[in-house]
């Protein structure tokens, strides 16, 4: 397991990158790093561009050791990671579209996120104005007898985010799904550049609204690591409380919505009630249903309101009273099980290779949870289990969420019992030098990674936010293969990837 450290010794250590080291390496050492991924000795947790450089972040499991490696790109080129390790392909395509840095040897040179409407190319690199239409996007060719294509989106039938799905089907069976995303690309990383830390926190909290707490927390962790700020204990506990409430609300919503996509509206209605009650409790506690902008770098923006604690106890009581009954119905309804069991199977080998986080990874045997793997406070002091299954179907992803709801309830009990009085926020202060930080936080969907570089005045120079969906979307293409077209909504909902978090 010493491999990453050995490679790091050969490179030049970046001065102020915390809490894990960043190493600037030669292209030879870069290849060694990539080899770690190919040989499954480490998992990729991020690959992003910068001015004239690319960064690759890896984690060794189960040690939780994280390393960031940087390759400076001479002539705007770097040796492709995706050529050897396919999970990197989309990330490289995004780097290429946003920064204009070319992955040499990449098997897929098509743009990603850039759909040709921005009026500029490489907006984060050497931006150049474009005029007129670009060449139409080349979807992957499909050949064979009796195949037909079904284009879906970007505007979908439900109240969901936009994205394009190109199905190739043989009769009812999906032969290939190809995704085209980027429709909700807002240029968040360009807005981050030059922003104050306070403004950056607002942007981070609006990267994917369903994970606003997780994003704000990952951003805060990165900034606090960079500035070496010690967060007051009460703030740490309150942050965990918000994170678990967010997880509960989303899992209730997902369990209900998956059942609804299998036309079982009873559980949908009941879970909708539980979700609403959770959001109302969150509002009673922190004054915002989704708890947006409540986690801030240095601590939390406001204290638990006086009426909050009572509403939490009431919520826990209601959930414990009602939820088991719903699980029983889920487990004992044959028509529902008929839809979810064996549907949308994701092989554990793929989940591992892609480093799929959250319920997608854990339902396919990848026992990774940032709360355990790097055990950031207060989770190092809390008792909880990380449920894992290896059956990898829609049913497994439902059960994973059910088990995680139970764990979150246990966590909230413990948090409430240990919540002590104290200050809520630490001063950030100025350092007078360039500082870098990395945050990795477990959102409801999986691990959110945030990397920041702050200039000497404390303004954001570069901030990269990586949604767990980057490593889940491609797997949905694999999971749907061989299923019927009509089961796509079910499979899609069981993944529930973020469009906005991915598109940025």
């Amino acid at each position: 397991m010493a491999a990453l450290i050995d490679i790091a010794k050969k490179g030049r250590k970046a001065d102020a990158h915390r809490p894990w080291p960043r190493t600037i390496v030669t292209s030879d050492a870069w290849r060694l790093v990539v080899q770690q991924l190919v040989e499954a000795r480490a998992t990729m947790i991020g690959l992003w561009g910068d001015a004239g450089a690319v960064h690759l972040a890896l984690i060794e499991e189960p040690s939780g050791e994280i390393g960031v490696f940087t390759l400076e790109c001479r002539d705007g080129k770097f040796p492709s990671v995706g050529a050897l390790h396919p999970p990197a392909i989309r990330l490289e395509r995004a780097i290429s579209s946003l920064y204009g840095l070319k992955p040499i040897g990449s098997p897929d040179a098509r743009p990603w996120l850039d759909l040709g409407f921005w009026g500029v190319t490489h907006p984060l690199g050497k931006a150049r104005k474009t005029r007129g239409a670009q060449a139409p996007y080349a979807f992957l060719p499909v050949e064979g007898e009796g195949l037909h294509q079904i284009p879906v989106g970007p505007v979908h039938a439900g109240i969901i985010e936009p994205g394009h799905f190109r199905f190739t089907a043989n009769g009812e069976t999906v032969v290939r799904l190809e995704q085209r995303l980027g429709y909700v690309h807002k240029g968040i990383e360009s807005l981050m550049a030059g922003a104050s830390i306070e403004h950056g926190a607002l942007l981070a909290g609006r990267t994917s609204g369903d994970s606003t707490v997780a994003y704000a927390l990952a951003f805060a962790h990165a900034v606090e690591a960079a500035l070496q700020v010690k967060v007051p204990p009460r703030a740490i506990w309150l942050r965990a409380l918000m994170a678990e409430l967010e997880r509960l609300a989303n899992h209730f919503g997902d369990i209900g919505a998956i059942c609804n996509d299998a036309s079982f509206s009873l559980i949908y209605a009941e879970c909708g009630i539980l979700r609403e009650r959770t959001l109302r409790a969150a509002e009673a506690c922190f004054g915002h249903r989704l708890m947006m902008d409540r986690v801030v770098p240095g601590g939390v923006a406001e204290d638990l309101r006086s009426e909050g604690e009572a509403s939490l106890h009431q919520l826990l009581k209601i959930v414990r009273d009602r939820f088991p009954e719903l699980i029983e119905i889920y487990d004992n309804t044959a028509s529902l099980q008929d839809r979810t069991v064996t549907t949308g199977y994701l092989a554990p080998t793929l989940a591992r290779a892609f480093g799929a986080g959250g319920y997608v990874g854990r339902a396919s045997g990848r026992a990774f949870d940032a709360r355990k793997a790097i055990a950031y406070p207060p989770y190092d002091e809390l008792e909880f289990e990380v449920p894992v299954r290896d059956d990898g179907d829609v049913n497994a992803r439902v059960w994973l969420r059910i088990r995680e709801v139970e764990q979150s309830l246990k966590l909230i009990d413990q948090i409430l019992a240990r919540l002590a009085r104290g200050p809520l926020r630490a001063e950030l202060g100025k350092t007078g030098e360039v500082r870098e930080g990395l945050g990795l936080v477990e959102g409801f969907r999986g691990d959110v990674l945030v990397s920041v570089r702050l200039d000497a005045n404390g303004a954001i120079e570069r901030c990269h936010l990586r949604d767990p969906s980057w490593f889940q979307w491609p797997l949905l293409e694999a999971a749907i293969e061989g299923n019927i077209v009509a089961d796509f909504p079910l499979c899609n909902k069981s993944f529930n990837c973020s469009y906005s978090g991915h598109d940025l």
Binding site: P154, Y183, H185, K186, T207, E325
Partner: protein, 173 residues
């Protein structure tokens, strides 16, 4: 399952009394809407939601309108799958450049008379995302807007107030 259904029959419903639309919303509508068009639509409105680049928080709260607490359908308001069935487009997000064409096409596919309701602060003027190379900065820039519902995200109650305002002049007749 039968036990749960029976229990639910005996429990009090969770559905809440509707909030009344606020004056500002009604004033914005009165200035913009053709009452004749409104009369033709009567008390039933079909809504097509279009995410034009939101962070998905607005979608979560719009979704909540369907839960038992708000129960949108009791007012004759319902979400439909196609713009061709819609009277109202509920648009969220700062309208990314990548979604501009899709929004224009959705608008074109919606039969007249139609209304556009822009939901959320970034749908008003781009909000926090204004100024980016990737956004047009507000729904107004792409399709005509009849009503703005502000908030980040607006709560289901705020959404309900806005949507009920669309029906209000009809009710008064």
């Amino acid at each position: 399952m039968r036990r749960l259904l029976l229990k639910n029959l005996l429990r009090r419903p969770v559905t809440e009394i509707a909030p009344s639309p606020d004056d500002a919303t009604l004033a914005e509508l009165a200035a913009k809407l053709d009452r004749a068009a409104q009369r033709r639509l009567g008390r039933s409105l079909a809504i097509r939601e279009v995410d034009a680049g939101s962070c998905n928080a607005c979608e979560l709260e719009i979704h909540a309108l369907n839960n038992a607490f708000y129960d949108l359908e009791r007012f004759g308001l319902r979400f439909v799958a196609s713009p061709r069935h819609a009277d109202v487009l509920l648009v969220t997000g700062p309208v990314t450049k990548n979604m501009r064409e899709a929004l224009e096409r959705t608008y074109a596919a919606t039969p007249d008379p139609k209304w556009v309701v822009a939901v959320g602060n970034c749908a008003v003027d781009g909000g926090i995302f204004a100024g980016s190379y990737a956004v047009t900065g507000g729904v107004d820039n792409v399709v005509p807007v009849d009503l703005h519902i502000k908030g980040c995200p607006p709560s289901p109650t705020e959404l309900l107030k806005g949507l009920l305002a669309l029906l209000e002049p009809v009710n008064q007749r």
